[in-house]
């Protein structure tokens, strides 16, 4: 910035001041200031005979505005305040023929109170004094000089000069109107247009201008007309608003000083107008008109405020306990069973000390398969017979064993039989079996990809997640929350193990902490995607999609829907599917990203059914109290890969309903107008819908009566 440039020291400076100070001994403050400022320099001065003074005077800008027939001057002086008490300011003009000479120039005393506008000196920062001045233009004058004398009797001075820049047809201020949050009250705002100083900084230079607004009235202007004006006037303020009718009327006239003023009275939206015109007069400090223009205010984008609350398709499912264990009389049973861990497994699933429903033994594959099939069929039939509602069922299985992998045929048999019965149930409407949760004793069995559509096998190896701090696959035990987080920093069994540890992890824990890890009030619950007669489902590559029963999102032709990806819980949107009422039955619904693209280009008007995509038709939740009585809650996600955790693996899906109001922003009117952003800045050059294609805003509107902030 030019006011930072090093200027040649004036002929006097502090050296010239020193004898004067000795004469002005009474001005102790000045002495103190000088001593404080430059005692060291004076010492060095005695040796070097030269003093470098950091003070300097700069003209920041000098402008000629033909529209008002006024010249403007902005300047800065860097100097300690104490030596300015007796300073005098002068200015002079020339015709551009040469440089100013302080001796030759015809200096006129600079009386700030005589400016066209109101002016004053401002200490705009420590040791920097900012000022401004304005005078009626004289076309013969091309340059302006500024002189500051430290004392009328002294010779110490600063002199500087600058060429007056002619603004031509440009205006010194951009005037525009904005609306409040109700879109009925208008604030007229002034953005100074000098460039340097900027509209943000200009208040620091002590100039206050006066304006008058007259004859405001609501009106509508087409986008085409507004766009044409932007082009012709080369500004986004739509100023001067040539499409508004200039008037001499003084109706509802009000005068204001400074940057902004709220107009009295409402400008309701009921008349269907998209803005309001007004006449604005640029006044001098005495109220005389310098220039007349018209100004336009654009209504703020209007957002739908209704609820987007939808009932989730998830309802609580009924658990069907199944307890399977290695037979206590089988060969090697003394090592292939661990009664302590077996007790833990049953307790965590809420089965108490119930005996096994079926045991298996090495060499007994065939009989186990046969018996298991019958057991599962029988248990499901019994559960259905006892059920009176439409709740679904989950097999909740304890699988206790400590077998080497070569004897693990039982795992495959169990996975196969669970998949068989689940497959047969999948096509049914609720109540039906939706899947299974198996709490095994080891981690290294994983069902096939087909079987995984119906069951969660826990614990198990899951694909490595680079962002996870899980130390090893053994520690991964089927919950969304990492064990270390759900247990906090407190030392309890949850911290090292999680709720579903392997046998080995459990044994390590018992050895280390000498307790058996039993917790209070463990509760494992599930919710399922209920399927009823009106449920519509479709199969994507990886997911099933269930459309909420009679839940719709209606987007009209004029509406622009924005997706709030940055909002909390926006990950829920990944699971959403939208199906247009006019869509061909053979095509799948669209995901939110596709919908967003359509909405963004104004082609997404439709009546959408709301659906949710899932990998498994159920979600689990485990709660219990730790030994230190902390409640612990975590989720069993429905997806096995990490991406799946972002789908239904969110506790909010367990709520009866979800309000997407905070995740979707629907603009209904004035969507291509400027808007107030999250920080309250009026984005005068923008178009809300185009500029917020993939985001939402939380507009911070100005309060009626408040003044516009600099730069806002």
């Amino acid at each position: 910035m030019n006011w930072l440039r090093i200027q040649k020291p004036p002929t006097a400076g502090l050296v010239a001041l020193i004898p004067s100070i000795s004469r002005w001994a009474a001005q102790a403050a000045a002495i103190v200031a000088v001593v404080g400022f430059g005692s060291a320099m004076v010492q060095s001065c005695r040796k070097a005979g030269l003093v470098q003074v950091p003070s300097h005077l700069d003209i920041i800008g000098a402008y000629r505005v033909a529209d008002e027939n006024v010249d403007y001057l902005f300047f800065e002086l860097t100097e300690i305040p104490e030596v300015l008490e007796n300073s005098k300011w002068f200015y002079a003009f020339d015709d551009g023929s040469g440089t100013f000479n302080s001796a030759q120039a015809t200096w006129k005393f600079l009386d700030l109170s005589t400016g066209v506008h109101q002016h004053k000196m401002v200490e705009c920062s420590r040791g920097v004094h900012c000022g401004s001045f304005s005078w009626p233009s004289d076309k013969n004058v091309q340059r302006v000089a500024l002189r500051m004398l430290y004392h009328p009797d002294g010779t110490a001075e600063h002199v500087t000069s600058a060429t007056i820049r002619d603004f031509g047809t440009n205006l010194s201020a951009m005037v525009f109107g904005v609306y409040d949050s109700s879109n009925t009250r208008i604030q007229i705002r002034v953005d100074d247009n000098f460039g340097i100083p900027s509209k943000v900084d200009i208040r620091r230079y002590g100039m206050t201008r006066k304006f008058q607004v007259r004859a405001p009235e609501s009106t509508s202007v087409t986008n085409t007309v507004m766009a044409a004006l932007k082009t012709s006037r080369r500004n986004n303020y739509l100023f001067p608003a040539d499409f508004c009718t200039a008037s001499l009327s003084s109706a509802n006239a009000q005068t204001f000083d400074g940057k902004s003023s709220w107009l009295t009275g409402d400008f309701p939206t009921t008349d269907g107008t998209n803005g309001a015109c007004a006449n604005v007069d640029f006044l001098d400090r005495n109220g005389l008109v310098l220039a007349k223009h018209t100004v336009f205010a654009r209504r703020n984008p209007k957002f739908k405020t209704g609820s987007y609350k939808y009932d989730t398709p998830l309802t609580a499912a009924t658990k069907i306990p199944v307890i399977l264990a290695y037979c206590s009389d089988a060969i090697g049973a003394d090592t292939a069973r661990d009664e302590t861990f077996y007790e833990y497994q049953r307790k965590m699933l809420g089965f108490g000390e119930s005996p096994e429903d079926l045991c298996f033994r090495v060499g007994g594959d065939a009989s186990f398969r046969s018996s298991l099939s019958g057991l599962l069929t029988s248990k499901l039939a019994t559960a259905k017979a006892a059920s009176s509602g439409a709740t679904d069922f989950m097999f909740t299985v304890v699988l206790h064993q400590n077998l080497s992998t070569e004897f693990r045929n039982f795992h495959q048999i169990l996975a196969e039989e669970l998949a068989v019965i689940s497959t047969s149930e999948a096509a049914l409407i609720s109540p039906r079996l939706v899947g299974s949760f198996v709490y095994d004793s080891q981690f290294d069995f994983r069902p096939t990809s087909v079987q995984e559509k119906f069951m969660i096998w826990c614990p198990s190896i899951r694909p490595q997640d680079p962002s996870s701090s899980l130390s090893s696959p053994v520690d991964a035990n089927c919950i969304v929350t990492e064990p270390v987080k759900i247990g906090g920093a407190l030392l309890n069994f949850v911290t090292p193990m999680g709720p579903f540890p392997t046998l080995n992890s459990y044994r390590n824990y018992v050895d280390k902490y000498t307790d058996r890890g039993l917790v209070k009030k463990p509760d494992l619950s599930f919710a399922s995607v209920v399927k009823n007669g009106s449920t519509f489902t479709e199969t994507e590559k990886k997911h099933q999609v269930t459309y909420f029963d009679n839940e719709h999102l209606i987007v009209t032709a004029n509406e622009r829907v924005h997706v709030c990806w940055g909002a909390a819980n926006s990950s829920l949107l990944n699971s959403l599917r939208l199906r247009s009422s006019t869509q061909d039955a053979t095509t799948d619904g669209i995901n939110i990203v596709t919908a967003e693209s359509l909405w963004g280009i104004g082609q997404g008007a439709a009546d959408y059914r709301i659906g949710v995509a899932w990998e498994l038709p159920f979600i689990g939740k485990v709660t219990y109290k730790s030994p230190v009585t902390l409640n612990v809650v975590s989720l069993i996600p429905v997806g096995r890969d990490f991406a799946g955790y972002q789908l239904l693996g969110d506790p909010k899906w367990l709520a009866d309903s979800i309000d997407f109001g905070s995740l979707l922003q629907v603009c209904t009117n004035y969507c291509d107008h400027p808007w107030f952003d999250d920080a309250g800045v009026y984005q005068v050059g923008g178009n809300y819908s185009d500029n917020n294609f993939f985001s939402c805003v939380s507009p911070q509107y100005p309060s009626v009566g408040s003044e516009a902030l600099d730069g806002y």
């Binding site: 089988a330 060969i331 090697g332 090592t335 292939a336 033994r361 090495v362 060499g363 007994g364 400590n402 077998l403 080497s404 992998t405 070569e406 004897f407």
Partner: protein, 251 residues
Amino acid sequence: MTSSLLKIFLLSLITQINVSCYDGWDDRDGSSAATPNIPTDPEATKPLYIVVFEPINLSNSAAADSSCFGATGTSQFRITEWSTRIAAATEALKMVADNVTVVPRAITTSDCTTLTAVETAAAASDPGSVRSYPDDPLDRPIVHLKAVFWDTDVGGTFTLVVETPHWAAWRTLRGRGRPAVSLHYFSVSNPTTGHFAHWKASTDSKIVKTATAINTVDPTDAGTRARTATASSDALTLANWAVQTAQEVRP
């Protein structure tokens, strides 16, 4: 994988034995008998010319638990144990013999109480096609290793055809002046009286070796690891014993 690991294991053990390179059979007695000359260099001449390894074991677990063993799961566990042992022994024998031929004598579920397959084997004309081998210029022993892998024992006794130290083909071989030696190996977990006990008792103890029995079934990972370790150790012992004994009893 298991085979490679076993080789490494055997080599590591063998190299700890203080031996010199084989330069013909060391006929000295005393300490040399306890430390047979197993070559440390794979390219060096091995102490045995031919080993015909005839493992006798149940080959199919289908219905074997009830008809052969009684306790459910025994056959599944034992068959895995035996296959591990046979694989380990084969690898160990290859370390000491130029030519190792495995001639499986599979016992089926229907044969597990009579073991007629063993009777048949005893009368076989040329197991391992040993006759097709040319004479060994070094005149090293040719070993016939009969190895029984079983759980408990099978009631009854074998005929003399089986219990004759040298089965039919080997008698012929010896008759032709070849240095054929018959050895016996028993890996029976819970030995009682029966075919194998009688067979073993009727055989010169010099040519009989008994494996470390795994009497208790442990189907856990720890059990599996212990079983593999036992099989590896026994295989090394068997190979050393075969080298030593073949020298002692060669015709």
